[in-house]
Structure formats: C-alpha cells, structure tokens
C-alpha cells in the first residue's frame, strides 16, 4: 500500500476520492479511509495499492509518498 493525496471540498468522502483518482474498491485501504490532512488546502490522504498509486494522474492526486515504519525511541539498544 502507498500513501497518496487528493484535493477535494470539505466533508469529502472516500467514494468521492476514489472517483477523482479513478480507483476501484479493491485498490483502496477502506479501513484506513479518507484522512483530512490540511483543511485549509482541502488536502486528504488515503492508502492505495502500489500499482494503483503509480497510475494516478498527477493532475488529480499527489504521491506516492513513503510510509516508513515508525518505532519507539527507547529503551536504547
């Protein structure tokens, strides 16, 4: 899965994001859903299959962005 972004109006839904990006249900992490990143810019994030992320039209969405592992900083090994 890859993290991608899309610009939509406020109160947007995952279905609207999928339509904008041309994605099918199988290509989207529906458990993760559509996450509002920056309300000022109407910027949302979602997780999509790697192949689908490569296919997204840059005019419609941003990414793919890295989604690195995050780990606790302690106790130090």
């Amino acid at each position: 899965m890859r993290l991608v972004t899309v610009r939509l109006h406020s109160q947007a839904t995952l279905a609207q994001a999928m339509r904008r990006l041309g994605l099918t249900e199988e290509e989207v992490d529906s458990g993760y859903g559509l996450v509002l990143i920056d309300p000022g810019q109407g910027l949302y994030g979602l997780r999509v299959a790697e192949e689908a992320a490569r296919r997204i039209d840059p005019a419609a969405g941003g990414g793919p962005y890295s989604d690195p592992r995050i780990e606790p900083f302690g106790p130090p090994d």
């Binding site: 993760y32 920056d38 994030g45 592992r69």
Partner: protein, 465 residues
C-alpha cells in the same frame, strides 16, 4: 518583545583551537608557570575569529627527532622542546560555520604566526548510555522541574488534554507507581484501524512509561491514549507502526482540538517515536521522501495541527554519536522528518545530573537545522514499565517529561493567550544553556528551566493585565 517569534539565526559557530608561533619572548612568558599570559597578549585579533579571553594560552612543545631523524614523522624516538625558539602557543576561539573553510584556509596566509587551526570538540566523561543503571529517580525529576512551584501557581495540567501517541497506556500500572489516580479520556482516545485494545488497558510497555513521565509535572492533565505503534497493517510488526497511522491519528486529534472552545483551547501531543532508517523511505530528493521533505503528508499535517493550536513535541531520537541505538541507520543527521519539524519541539535527553545522555541525537535536523530545540530529563527510575531496576530511558522519556511541563503551563495559558510558537520561544529562551555559546547541536538551547519560565509568565501576565 516576548510575544513575537523572532526569526531563528541561520548561523552557528564552531569552536576551534588555534596554534600560533608568536615571538620567542611571548612563548617564554606563556611557558613560564610564574607568569600569567592572556589570549590578548598572544593573539590580539585574528580576522574572523572570536577569541575566548577566558582561556589561558597553553605552550605546546615541539617534537624534536634525534639527529638525522625525519622532521615530519611522529613514529620515531622524539624529545619535546619547550624552549622559546621551538615551542608554539595554543589559544581558543570560535569561527562562524558559514566562513569556516575559508577562514581555516586563509588564516595561515594572512597571519604568518598562525601554524594551524584545529577542531575543539566537546569532551564529556562517563556519559550515561543505554544499559546503564538509572541516574536518580522520578522524585529527582520532580525537584529539577520545580513541580511544587508550578503547582503553587496553579499549573498542574488541570483541564489540559495531553495525547500520548505510542504503544498504548496501562492506566492501572501508571496509577500504582505514581501513587495517585490519573485522568484518562476514553471518549477522545483513538485506535488505528485493526487495533482492538481499550484505552488505558494496554499491556505495560513503552507507552505506559511515556504516560507516567507526562504526569510528573502535570498530574491533573487528561491523557488521551493513541496506540499508534500497535498498527497491525502489512509491513508493521508487534511494536512498531506505519507513518500513515500517525497521519490518521493527527487527523483525529484535530477533531479533538477543534471541538474545544477557542478561548480555552489546548492540546499537547507527545511523540516518543520516529523512523530509524532511510531504508523504509524514498531517497532524499524524491518528491515522496519523508525524512527531508516538508511537503510529505505527515509533515503537512503536523504543520496544520500546530497552526490550529496544538503543542507538538517529538523525541530527538537515540542516535547520539557517543552510544547510539543499534537500530540507527542514518549515516548522519539522524533527527529526521517530523522529529526535526520547525513547528515542533524536538527534545533531547539529559540525566538528572544535567549531563547529556550519550544516546541523545545531535543536530542539525533535516527539516530545520536548529535541532534539538531543548533538553529534558531521562534515564531515571520512574514507571518501572520495563522492570524494577530499569530506568525510564531514551529521549522517549525526555519527551513526555517536557510534554508534562508544557501541559502544566497550559493550565492557565491556553492557546488564545500564548500560541504554540510563542510557547516554544519561551522554553528556548529560558532554557539553561549548557554550552556557554547559546544554541548548540548537543543540548539545543539548553535544559528546560521552570523558574525562568515562571518568571517570564509572571512578567507577561503583568503586561497583559
């Protein structure tokens, strides 16, 4: 003006030792134990160098090979001469980082008494490292944070929401080891998709330690439990998560923040985690990169939440040069991504003796150069989340200790009275400078200083009144 946020100076200095060969009578005076020569006697003004007048010049003997020996080799039998004709003299100073290479090259050509310019790194003995026994306990941290003085001014975290993004909190363990009840808001707590535990009922682990440490300074703060490091998504493991879960967690926290009345709004977010390795990231320069890219969605949502009024704190990391965590994989500049964000406080670690712990990551940061911002206390006996003799350690502990101090301040200073940027400036400006040169990449601006914070807040309150 205290309320304004001055631009951060972009320059730093490097401490240097300068070897000089002044006239023989000056060398003789420096070498004579009965005479006290000063830096001004030896080097009165070197272009581009701020000389340290407190440093007493030192005579440096000249290595002299036996007759016929190689004058350039130290790998032979040598004698050392302190005679006025042979010896040189060392003084100390600072050169601006942006001029360093030029100055180091030009100094010997501009001044023929300059023999060489050398780095003067900080040397510290017996730094606390991972695996070392605790240095003091959490009551020492209470004392160092001047918690009694905070509480005397009504600053105990009452009414302040404090989110702990970690492995989940075990509230019963925290209460047992603190010896008092804690406030945990189950309604505003949140799990990433697929994480099934209930707020305050997670296994005792790293998140429990962090929760305990926030409550040292702010025992009446209301904890919000966000077990973001328990992600069960593909690519994660038992005790780590994915950054996308942190994006979703921050989006949830924006709803928490925006549900509060604007005039009393406050939300402190403690993050004792990060990414240890560039292996999971796109390369620097790639538009999808996280570590160095302010346009990455997580770095954007951090900026957005800070702008909405959240105080965001991140641990600087455990990749300090002296005893770095074995997981550290960045070849340099390990304070990466949001841990180095200009809109957050990046927290380094000191032990209860005030000395930087050897594993506390050093700057410069990748998104903002001047990281860490400040240091707080770690490596003390506290929550016992990892066993009876084990310390609360890592910058993982320093970050929530500092978050507790921020939450205590917020008790009477909501965002409407003191913006997150103003609060960061206040903590930096009042920090106890550990290096004598202002900001440095080991301690940042210094160790948090509660009396300085309180004095500044009192002055501000009088101005507002």
């Amino acid at each position: 003006m205290e309320g304004s946020v001055p631009p951060e100076p972009w320059w730093c200095t490097m401490r240097v030792l300068i070897q000089l060969r002044p006239s023989p009578d000056v060398v003789a005076a420096v070498a004579d134990p009965d005479v006290t020569a000063t830096t001004a006697d030896v080097a009165d003004g070197l272009p581009g160098v701020v000389l340290d007048p407190s440093f007493t010049p030192v005579a440096v003997p000249r290595p002299v090979p036996a007759a016929g020996g190689d004058p350039l080799s130290l790998n032979q039998s040598l004698t050392f001469s302190l005679s006025a004709d042979d010896a040189s003299v060392m003084v100390r100073g600072e050169i601006s980082d942006d001029e360093l290479s030029t100055r180091v090259t030009l100094l010997p050509t501009l001044r023929n008494d300059v023999v060489g310019v050398f780095a003067d790194p900080v040397i510290e003995s017996n730094l606390t490292c991972g695996g070392d026994a605790p240095v003091g306990d959490w009551h020492d941290v209470e004392r160092l944070l001047h918690v009694a003085e905070l509480h005397a001014e009504g600053l105990d975290g009452s009414g302040v929401a404090l989110a702990v993004l970690d492995t989940g909190i075990n509230a019963a363990h925290v209460a047992r080891h603190l010896g008092r009840d804690l406030l945990l808001d189950k309604e505003r707590s949140w799990n990433p998709d697929g994480v099934t535990g209930r707020p305050g009922e997670f296994e005792v682990n790293h998140g429990t330690m962090c929760a305990f440490d926030t409550l040292i300074a702010a025992p009446r703060a209301t904890l919000i439990d966000i077990p973001v490091l328990l992600s069960q998504r593909p690519g994660g493991s038992a005790l780590d998560g994915l950054l996308s879960d942190a994006v979703a967690a921050f989006a949830h926290l924006r709803t928490v923040l925006e549900a509060q009345p604007a005039e009393t709004r406050s939300l402190v977010i403690s993050n004792s985690w990060g990414s240890f390795s560039p292996r999971w990231d796109f390369p620097v320069g790639h538009p999808g990169n996280y570590s160095d890219n302010p346009a990455h969605p997580f770095n954007l949502i951090v900026a957005s939440l800070e702008q909405a009024g959240a105080d965001v704190l991140f641990a600087a990391g455990n990749c300090g040069r002296d005893c770095r965590d074995g997981r550290c994989a960045y070849p340099d500049r390990p304070i990466a991504g949001a841990n180095s964000h200009p809109g957050v406080l990046s927290i380094g670690g000191v032990d209860t003796g005030g000395q930087r712990v050897g594993y506390s990551s050093q700057g410069p940061g990748r998104l903002a150069l001047r990281k860490p911002d400040i240091c707080s206390y770690t490596h003390f006996s506290g929550s016992k989340a990892f066993g009876a003799g084990e310390p609360d350690s890592g910058t993982s502990a320093a970050c929530p200790v500092a978050a507790g101090l921020v939450a205590a301040i917020r008790t009477r200073w909501p965002v409407s009275a003191l913006s997150p940027a103003q609060l960061r400036t206040l903590l930096r400006r009042t920090a106890d400078d550990r290096s004598d040169i202002g900001f440095d990449y080991d301690y940042g601006y210094g160790v948090t200083d509660t009396p300085g914070v309180l004095a500044s807040l009192r002055r501000r309150a009088m101005r507002v009144a």
